[in-house]
Symmetry: C2
Subunit: 168 residues, 2 copies
């Protein structure tokens, strides 16, 4: 699971509250631990998703490839308060197995997550999440993930390099 | 500054304690805020760097490109307790301006950091750092950073994509 997030891709964070799903683009996330699989992410309290995440304590993190770049930027440029981003950007919802937040079908990997620590939410908008289920398309070997360089510039994942590393 | 870290590169975290410098490879980091520039990182308490970071509350984060891949993996495969990694992997130390930890001259960007929040250190080895000074080589426009996919596999930063994003 950590192998999906470590390279630093832009991800789509989906929530559901009162039967209404929403999604946002997010680059500020990192792994915390392997076992149990924990990660941290920053969701600004200016984002519509903030309250849904804080209150429901559930989300999914979905990893797009460059094929979805326009949809990802669309999600980043709009607010779920007024826009149904799934309809607007052609994203297909699928039921998750353990959380109420939806999976995004077009993404090659998805992580179902529960919020497990909110101590740094007030100060930094930092949520600690536990991944309770992970999905990925095993046919995607070298995903062309996109990585935000800021101001509309993205780096697309390039070639792979193999080195004798002891790092997990 | 956030534009250096957001794409998720493997970085080299350098510390200095009792006049002895050390460096480790790190992939688990993220931005927290723009102003002041804050980031979070995980430094395992099994790493020799952990105590230096916890006690001195200072470090530098240095960003290598693929030209340094062998040195980065070397840093990840060895322990500063027994190895002078700078000598072993041909890394040149340079004095930082505001912290005692050294900069690594071969890296195209370096961030001088101070630990500003240790509330999640005991539980998760999670440090909150404030960047107090940032250096980068302006001639490097599209850095070929490396991104850890786990188990000795790295993704090398590929082409750039420009989209009309409102995201900072």
């Amino acid at each position: 699971m950590y192998r999906l997030l470590e390279p630093g891709p832009v991800v789509l964070l989906a929530t559901a509250r009162k039967g209404k799903a929403n999604v946002m683009a997010m680059s500020w996330h990192m792994m915390i631990d392997f076992e149990p699989p924990l990660l941290a992410c920053i969701v600004s309290n200016r984002n519509y998703s903030f309250e849904a995440l804080r209150i429901t304590k559930e989300c999914t993190i979905n990893i797009p490839t460059v094929a979805l770049a326009a949809a990802v930027v669309g999600c980043g440029n709009t607010c779920g308060r007024t826009v149904d981003k799934f309809a607007a950007f052609g994203l297909t919802l699928r039921n998750a197995s353990l959380v109420a937040a939806p999976l995004i079908d077009e993404c090659y990997a998805s992580l179902e997550c529960r919020v497990v620590d909110t101590r740094l939410v007030t100060r930094y908008n930092l949520f600690v999440l536990q991944v309770v289920r992970a999905w990925h398309d095993p046919s995607v070997k070298q995903p062309r993930t996109i990585h935000h360089r800021g101001l509309g510039t993205f780096m697309v994942a390039g070639r792979e390099l193999h080195l004798a590393s002891r790092m997990r």
